[in-house]
């Protein structure tokens, strides 16, 4: 429930920013959307078990789902790379306006 709410809020904010003018806002929207997607991935696992899956200390019966965590770890880094790239695009022109001046 709480996870779903967080996802909903992030998606709404991200989509709103994506639909604005200017590259920076689009990048920020993208960041928030990727947060939302990462949380969806987490939510797809078993979120009722929340012990860190460090088997030196954890019990396999209560440890959190490691699979979505591995996905999300990859996703975070890729999203970071794309974010930097999009930020670069924002300054590769004289302005980050994404719309023709009307």
């Amino acid at each position: 429930m709480t996870l779903a709410l967080s996802i909903g809020i992030l998606v709404a904010g991200g989509v709103f920013m994506l639909l604005q003018r200017g590259m920076i806002r689009i990048v920020l929207g993208f960041i928030m959307l990727s947060h939302a997607v990462n949380l969806i991935l987490m939510s797809a696992g078993v979120t009722s078990r929340r012990d860190a899956p460090l088997m030196a200390t954890a019990d396999p019966a209560t440890a959190a789902d490691p699979l979505p965590q591995a996905f999300v770890l990859t996703a975070i880094v890729i999203a970071f790379a794309i974010t930097i790239y999009m930020l670069t695009l924002a300054v590769a022109r004289s302005d980050d306006d994404t719309e023709d001046p009307s």
Binding site: I9, L19, T47, L54, L73
Partner: protein, 964 residues
């Protein structure tokens, strides 16, 4: 075991070429010629077994066992012939290259030529359709690169060749897929032997057509013939290899390989014979038109390939026997003619017969050898070319079916051969005949003439040792038609129809040669209204123009309209689905905890603020807050590594964003209220849809079997206790490798983008004359605390990052996190520096990225020691005293990850953080020593203060203020 060794030695030779090139320059060719020659001898030594006793050498290693694709290699008679050509002609071309090129290094040439040999050898040895396709494509790529080596003027020809032969490659791919799906195996010999070709005639015809298309593009058959003369832009050794032994012979090989199954398809016979003869005729006709010797030879190759395709199309044992002999004969005479043409070209500075003086006296050896080659090409006894042409005519006359059809086909070949005679004469007479002039340099040295002499004289010697070729021909016929055959190649077969036809060819050809002035007058015009290259370019432009036109239908520079349409459809669908099927399984266990609500509230507040604010800086900071909240979420969900990664990524994103922001206006571009409202509606719809979907569709099941497996077995199987890390570097390392490559590419793209478009310097700080000398605005003084902290913290961060890297397998940490910590150290050093110019961390960041990806990939190759790519190896290293250190190659992989991530971070910092050079070098004045530039942080404060304090400075306060 011989077959993989052949390929392996060549691959090693490719790797060694840079060294050889550095040490020996053009003479590296001698070493390679030795390698090729030795390998050719090894293949030749298989002749008694393969040709004499009819054995077939095979080799197999699994490659993709789950797809049943393996490195199947197979040497039968057909492969033997082509392998000998690749290696033998390769050796001679390498030797020739040492004298053809001027002294000095031949960067890339030898490596690419050897790689080309690998590709071609792999192609003719492959007994797996997938492997065969891979090598087929490699020949295309190598030829593209080799043609492109010749400089600017060769660019378009290289591209045209690549696209056309690449097209054929796609046809082959389609055929390969169809064959694999149907047969259930990728083994070529099994497919050829066991497929039921009668079961579905339409399917068989489709495969046949695809194979034909692939072969025709590769072997330059009409209407694709134009690429071969176009590719003349390549240097002569490349052309020699391309024309005589590789590339174009790949198509011939493919047709021979598929003859056992398609040889009696009427469609196959008609298409091959028809196209082959047309190609043979027009190729010869165009050759007769040329004055450039190289072009003449190129069209001659087109013509000869046409003849080969036609005779393969006949499909009888006699025809395939003739095809085998002619393949050999053509390789020999074409290699010598090309190389000798190169000799003439380099000695005289031209290869145009209108400009060449009569070189007979000046270059007698070259002239003799070229005459021998030309006689073989023209089909005159006693040369191998005569034997093969007789055999071809004989097989054509014997075409099954109505006798007149065979005769007609043979007459087509007679017409082409007559023209061949004429252009052979034209070539020799053009180069060497006529009034003797003074040659620039005289005769070439023996080492230069060695290679062409070997090929030309082989054509002569073999004609007198024809029984030697009988076993080869018999085996080839058995391979390609499945029929036992006993050939008796001979120069003299008695008076028969082929001999009469040969006599006609020679007679008519002699007439054409005698009447060459008249012939020239007739041919000295545009024979066809269009040229192949023009058609290609028109089609090429047309495709691009069509793409542009289609794109323009919806094109707009603003992304919002597209996005809104997509998002609304998506959101609407999602809501409709969710509302339409309200049956939702119950949650097995409660997934919500009271503390979660704090995060929901935090995210709600931060996101709302992001949406409302008009200041860029505020928005970036607020998105950072959102990121922290998400990191906390990960922590609550038990993801230690995730939370750490997210936190660090958030910090670094803000650092990079700030570097970017100072070049942009302060506030966002204004958007009208109606638009904000519209966007708001779309956003809310999407948010509700996503939230509902997440609530209804996720978190309603038990742990997946895969997760359960990882939790229970990770430690046992990998020695690591941090399950998430073991998944990343052990179980699913290939995914991580892919991710790493994405990361590396991003870094390179950033460099590329900023190289091609100058960095925007829009809002860099302007020096305020009055304040510049004031200590309050001195970047140096202001960054003192930061610098002090950084000095102490930098080494700690570096050590910490190394520690995190080493322990990642068993505790939170690993390559990503360690690199992000290290990157944070660099960011700190960057921010603390008083001037951007000084903060540049002078590490070769593109190399770091490359090294990272290479190390990660290389550690994957180590995994082959235990059977598969990226499989981690484990060693327990005993420590002094007690205990063991558990070492795994996964750690090397993690080091690769570490380097690549650091490289990308440094790229972003260095590239986005650079100042305008004018700013950086500007001296401040006598009062302040050497602080050229405000550092990014204090600069913002500077401007803020000006904003508040001196509103009378509209220039600075306005978003567009600044230098530009």
């Amino acid at each position: 075991m011989i077959l993989p060794v052949l390929l392996g030695v060549l691959v090693v030779a490719v790797a060694a070429t840079p060294l050889l090139d550095r040490g020996l320059g053009r003479n590296a060719g001698w070493v390679l010629a030795g390698v090729f020659g030795t390998l050719a001898a090894v293949v030749g030594a298989q002749a008694p077994a393969v040709l004499g006793r009819g054995e077939t050498l095979e080799f197999f290693v699994p490659w993709m066992p789950t797809l049943d694709v393996g490195l199947h290699l197979r040497l039968d008679g057909t492969s033997w012939l082509f392998a000998m050509l690749v290696l033998g002609v390769g050796a001679l071309v390498m030797a020739y290259s040492t004298r053809y090129f001027p002294p000095g290094r031949r960067t890339g040439f030898y490596g690419l030529m050897t790689a080309f040999a690998v590709a071609m050898l792999g192609l003719v040895l492959a007994d797996d359709v997938v492997v065969m396709f891979v090598f087929w494509e490699l020949t295309t790529i190598c030829s593209f690169l080799l043609i492109g080596l010749s400089g600017e003027s060769a660019n378009r020809p290289a591209v045209r060749t690549f696209i056309l032969t690449g097209l054929g490659g796609l046809a082959l791919l389609a055929a390969v897929v169809m064959l694999m799906v149907n047969a259930g195996t990728s083994r070529l010999s099994t497919i050829l032997a066991e497929t039921d070709w009668q079961a579905s005639p339409g399917w068989s015809v489709a495969v046949a057509l695809l194979v034909i298309l692939a072969a025709f593009t590769k072997s330059a058959q009409f209407p694709f013939h134009y690429w071969l003369p176009d590719a003349m832009a390549a240097s002569t050794p490349v052309s020699t290899y391309l024309h005589a032994a590789t590339m174009v012979k790949a198509g011939i090989y493919l047709l021979m390989r598929f003859t056992p199954v398609f040889g009696d398809f009427p469609l196959w016979n008609v298409l091959l014979i028809g196209t082959g003869l047309v190609t043979a005729f027009i190729g010869a006709l165009f050759a007769l038109q040329r004055t450039d010797l190289k072009e003449l030879l190129a069209y001659s190759t087109v013509s000869q390939l046409g003849l080969l395709v036609a005779i393969i199309g006949v499909g009888t044992p006699y025809a395939l026997a003739a095809a085998g002999v002619h393949t050999l004969a053509h390789a020999l005479f074409k290699a010598s003619l090309f190389m000798l043409m190169g000799v003439v070209d380099t000695r005289n500075g031209t290869r145009d017969i209108r400009e060449l003086p009569g070189l007979w006296r000046a270059m007698p050896a070259t002239a003799t050898l070229m005459t021998i080659g030309a006689l073989s090409m023209a089909g005159i006894p006693p040369l191998l070319g005569f034997v093969s042409k007789e055999a071809i005519l004989d097989a054509m006359v014997g075409l099954p079916g109505e006798p007149w059809v065979g005769l007609l086909v043979a007459l087509g070949a007679v017409a082409a051969s007559t023209l061949t005679f004429a252009y052979s004469f034209r070539m020799v007479y053009g180069a060497f005949g006529g009034s003797p002039g003074t040659a620039k340099h005289g005769e070439a040295g023996p080492s230069y003439l060695l290679a062409p002499a070997v090929t030309a004289l082989s054509g002569l010697v073999l004609a007198f040792a024809l029984p030697v070729l009988d076993p080869l021909v018999d085996r080839l016929v058995l391979d390609t038609t499945g029929t036992a055959h006993e050939s008796h190649l001979a120069l003299w077969h008695g008076f028969n129809l082929p001999l009469l036809l040969s006599a006609i060819v020679i007679g008519l050809g002699a007439v054409l040669a005698w009447q060459r002035v008249a012939v020239d007058r007739v041919l000295d015009r545009q024979l066809v209204p269009v040229q192949g290259t023009q058609v290609f370019e028109a089609a090429y432009r047309g495709v691009i123009a069509a793409g542009v036109r289609i794109g323009r239908l919806t094109a707009s520079n603003a992304p919002a309209p597209y996005l809104a349409a997509i998002l609304l459809t998506l959101g609407g669908t999602a809501i409709a689905v969710t509302l339409g099927r309200p049956v939702v399984p119950a949650q097995p266990e409660p997934t919500t905890r009271p503390t979660d609500w704090l995060l929901v509230a935090l995210i709600l507040v931060a996101v709302t603020a992001v949406v409302i604010t008009r200041s860029r800086l505020a928005a970036v900071a607020l998105v950072g807050v959102v990121g922290f909240a998400v990191a906390l979420w990960f922590l609550l969900l038990g993801g230690f590594d995730l939370a750490l990664t997210q936190l660090l990524v958030e910090i670094l994103t803000v650092v990079v964003a700030v570097l970017v922001l100072r070049r942009l206006p302060r506030a966002f571009h204004p958007t009208p209220r109606a638009r904000r409202l519209g966007a708001g509606v779309v956003a809310v719809v999407m948010g509700v849809a996503a939230g509902l979907a997440a609530f209804a569709l996720t978190g309603r099941r038990e742990m997946s079997p895969a997760s359960e497996y990882f939790l229970r077995n990770a430690e046992e199987e990998t020695g690591g206790t941090n399950v998430v890390n073991t998944i990343l570097v052990d179980f699913r390392a290939l995914d991580t490798l892919g991710e790493l490559v994405v990361l590396g590419v991003t870094g390179l793209i950033i460099i590329g983008v900023l190289e091609s478009a100058r960095l925007n310097h829009g809002r860099l700080p302007e020096k305020v004359a009055g304040f510049a000398q004031n200590v309050v605005f001195s970047a140096r003084e202001n960054s003192l605390i930061m610098r002090t902290v950084a000095r102490g913290l930098g080494p700690v961060l570096t050590l910490l990052s190394l520690y995190l890297l080493l322990r990642g397998h068993s505790a939170p940490g690993g390559g990503f996190i360690a690199a992000l910590v290290g990157g944070a150290g660099f960011a700190l050093a960057y921010l603390a520096a008083p001037a951007a110019a000084r903060a540049r961390i002078r590490l070769p960041y593109p190399r770091l990225i490359a090294a990272g990806v290479a190390i990660a990939g290389g550690s994957g190759i180590l995994g082959y020691l235990e059977g598969s790519f990226l499989r981690p190896l484990h060693v327990d290293i005993p420590l002094p005293g007690d205990g063991y250190y558990h070492f795994t190659t996964a750690l090397i992989f993690d080091v690769g990850v570490y380097l690549a991530v650091i490289g990308v971070l440094l790229t972003a910092l260095n590239r986005l953080g650079t100042e305008d050079d004018i700013h950086a070098e500007e001296p401040l004045g006598p009062g302040v020593e050497s602080t050229d530039e405000d550092d990014p942080d204090s600069e913002d404060e500077t401007n803020d203060e000006i904003d508040e304090g001196t509103a009378a400075e509209p220039d600075l306060a306005s978003p567009k203020g600044g230098r530009r």
